[in-house]
Subunit: 219 residues, 2 copies
Amino acid sequence: MSEPPPKPPLPVAPSGTSELPLAGAAPAPPPERADAARNRARILAAAERLFSERDPASVTMDDIAKAAGVGRGTLYRRYPDRATIARALLDEHERALQEKLLRGAPPLGPGEPGAPAPSPAERLAAFYEEMTLLLEAHLPLALGAETGATRFTTGAYAFWHAHVTHLLRTSPHPTPHPLPDQLLAPLSPELFRHQREQGVSRERIAEGLGGLARGVLGA
Amino acid sequence: MSEPPPKPPLPVAPSGTSELPLAGAAPAPPPERADAARNRARILAAAERLFSERDPASVTMDDIAKAAGVGRGTLYRRYPDRATIARALLDEHERALQEKLLRGAPPLGPGEPGAPAPSPAERLAAFYEEMTLLLEAHLPLALGAETGATRFTTGAYAFWHAHVTHLLRTSPHPTPHPLPDQLLAPLSPELFRHQREQGVSRERIAEGLGGLARGVLGA
DNA sequence: GCCGAACTGGACACGCTGTCCACTTACTTC
DNA sequence: GAAGTAAGTGGACAGCGTGTCCAGTTCGGC
């Protein structure tokens, strides 16, 4: 059998980075054709619209292709499945939060050296607050990005995990700590949707998470 | 169009109760035919085996029917989907834990009136411990029972929710409490599998949950 | 303007779902 | 013990979504 080429080299940024043609993008070797760029923009726009219009789980690859006005082959060329598309869209918004966690103002960020540092409990509570805002704004995307246990394998999840791990390490509290995954579990999009559908407000959800943060990392 | 009969009246116990032909079963009006009972036992046995042999998500209704030696129609007559079968099997084990929570010995149960009552924090930690044991023993079933957000709509989940709500209410702690759903989130089967696959032991998971319980409900 | 390569889009085969209905089997009644 | 009746059975069927494949098209460099 003749060795089939492993796959055409896709001009797609490595998983976890932006896919949108934003200013300042690195000039990669194969500089992407114009029609390809146009179609990718169409696909992402159509997908985002479909995800928010109906239950994200019911959106098929076929729907997206039709709504974007491209063929199935074109769609599959870049995105192997629905979840990848949703994640590409989500990444944009998540990156903004990641920036704020690393270098933003306290209590979300670490604060200036010299100034009084925010407590880990406060930082975790602030992180929870921001995540509920993000979920409220982009729940359809967050739901569309989930296919089974893919949640734990994304670059974004690894980032949140590292952040919480850091907060736990810098906490002076002596009791045996929960595991980072256990503190991230209440941020599951599925759970958020369930709570909202039960009539729980975003504010109440964030408040509960704040209680969690302070209980675990000290008042 | 002629009115089709809504559906043949299935001799199936209401959702959330045992489906296994155990001694002491209530003598319901239509006392179930012998061949039907035999086939149901076959179906459940085959399903349990398949779930534990491979990834529960990959087991199809067809697989179960073939393994049980029955036709598709027979299978669908009782169980509309895979999740229902898995839940029927899980119910058995969950009911045992529910019994212990209501009437078992402390710290899992409430304790005898008159005797010193276990603290809510201890009871929550004990509940967490038992749940990790249950997940460890029956993870394939727990995973098979999940299809999207069905987790929150089962009778079992409602029970855990009520239990945690009760513990939160009886806790003397003044801080704003987390919501019950948020304390149940770390028990997600998907998360448990992820942690185990990462090499985290069941004991370590339970320990982390214990820290969570004591942090939130007071040392 | 020409040529190679990337890109495109629809046809195709496959697997799973859920329904339907003609046949079979078990329990009841006489 | 035989006949009647309704529950139970199982496989065929249509529909849907997925992922692949390839002949035709379009782009961008020369």
